[in-house]
Amino acid sequence: MTRTLFALKLRLFRNGPHDERGFGLVAGLVLAALVVAGASGVARGVLHEGWIAAALTGWGGMWVLGPLAQPRHEPSVLSREWLRGYPVPSWRLARALSWTELLGVGPLITLACLLSLLVLAAPAGPAAVATAGAAALTQLYLLVWAGKTVAALAAWLLQTRAGMTLAAVQTAIMLALSFAGWVPVAAWLLPRLRDGDIALTALTPGQLPASLVDLLTLLPTGWGYRAAISARDGAGWGGVVMPLAVLLAVGVLLQLGWIALTAHALRRPPRRATPNRPAAPGRGLPGSGVAPQVRAVAARELATWLRDPARGVELRSAWLTPLLMAPIIAVAGWNWALPFVGPAVAVFGAMVAINTYALDGTALWQVLTTPGAVKADVHGRMLAWALLFGAPSVALAAVLWALTASPVGGVAVGGAVVAAAVGCTVAPLLAVMMPAVGADARDRVYPGQRAGDPTGGQMTIFPLVVLASVVPGVIGAVVAGRWWATGLSALLLATGILSTVPGLVVRLLHQRGTRLLGAMASRDAAALRPSAGTKADVPAR
């Protein structure tokens, strides 16, 4: 059975898609080559070996943190759905599957990276190299099974009631570290930036502190390194065999854990998480001065943001990310920068609202067949976004300005105003122009199900919102730091955006609406191209 599954996986690899896998392979091999080159630098005495321990810790950390950073990503090439009905004991099937998990880009590039252990041990002769080889293989074994087990656990947790919050917290932590992790380093390098002093702290190249390297070798990601260095330094069999034995033992336990989780998943029918139900029958959105059609759409949108599993994760992560960034900035001593958390809310809010049409899927038919509904739909989506992200981002910037008395608080508030205007209007525009089509709304019950990958749209709107939010500050600086120039330019810019882009979205949805619906019905974004079919095509079944 293992051979059959191996052959199936190889065929799937051969048939593609190759883009993501090819990129991962090339990028991974380049990074691995850098680590191996660093190890050879250690042998020549130009680099301290502690840096290799740090690199291997980072690499190993990716195995564990990767599945947590992408909690909605299907971790396995061979889907459990295909195998659930086979008349084979689930334990036996899971055991056969487990060996196929070793086949992939991740294990290959990690093995390439771990060749650095052999390079480190090379000066001590063939016996040390052989030991380092064993260390590399056992370290790979442990890393693979640590990553796979974490992924299986995350997949199981996502199907629980708390899955939406869990996935959002995972994503928010990763994003906060990615977007604000540089702040402590920058604060250390530029300690007097608040006063406009850009003098850098002098850097002295050298080696990592010995205590830090010791700590890294105590982590599971450093056990292979520890065995290889012990073999090189002739530290005796205890220092060599013990880490290898522990690597192997923990690896076996993790593999058994993965097999148990997978067998459990194969035995059970697909789970359906209980969606968030309203506590009571909902009421319409109150409000005067807003057309009832727009109010109806805004109420639908607010309910959907809170109840849809994919949107729920995005909503929570968009709010948690800036709120996690704030303590990182505060701990680094850059309190003056805290008001910028306000525009950050608008930036992340825009990024998570980039795919709402595709997430709502074929429900678009109702909008397209109701007179006047297209305009109401666009405006209602914008109103809901403004209530969830736009207005709070401006308010948050203002409150943090008041609390920190930051000299750049006005710039942050002006930036938040423009960022909110851009996020509010451009997110639905891109949602119509470049939808990431995935499973239809009626088929998505929990966050782990594929809902389309909107990375392209997110990477488009992120610089747009950031650049737009910088404009009022730049204008204020150009006119010699006049606060009114920042405020006035922010208001004018926001007014201009709000009065032009919504009309464009409405026109675009009128023109492309039926093609967009066709793309979602066929789950193929290629149907959006005018050449893909006749003018308006919901595929006939």
């Binding site: 309910a303 709502d360 429900a363 006047g372 709304a441 009626r442």
Partner: protein
Amino acid sequence: MFYGIVGPNGAGKTTTLTAVCGLREPTSGTIRIAGHDLRTARDAALTQLGIMMDGLSLPERLTATELLRYSAGLRGLDDGWQTRAGDLLEILGLDAVPRTLIVEYSTGMRKKMNLALAMLHRPRVLVLDEPFEAIDPVSARSIEQVLKQYVDAGGTVLLSSHIMDFVERNCRRVAVVAGGRVLVEGPVEEVAAGSTLNERFVALVGADPVRPLEWLA
């Protein structure tokens, strides 16, 4: 009146209905709904239509009441919609699950919800794609009863179906389509031409060859 479109899978039934709903441009000809040309007076034509599409999503994270309120708001209906919504939910048996989201609905409940949505604004024409497909007899019966009341009150129902029995019992006219062409159209009795509609349908579109499977013996 009831007007039925029948045909084998892939015949063009859904294609025709999506064109009638304005979700597809017809390759030739014109579509008029209650006297309004769909191309030149789209909004006026769509106002007269109630649509029930098969296999498409609804705003899935709303309850039945929320969805009807949303639909009423989207159409700008006056206060009378609340009474109609209450009646439809009751008669279709959807008021028993007030907190259940649409995404949790069974196929039958989903069909009934679609029908309530299609009728809420009192349209003159209902376009129903496979209203009886994959639903239990109880749901089918309640849908049929509602549709009969609608037709008795002067409404027109244009539907596609594989349920020949329903078409034969209720439709005044029927079109048999295959390969994107109308093979025959007219009053049901004339189309049936002395046999049952099902027999006539098979004779018109042809049946797959049947031979004994020896390996089953």
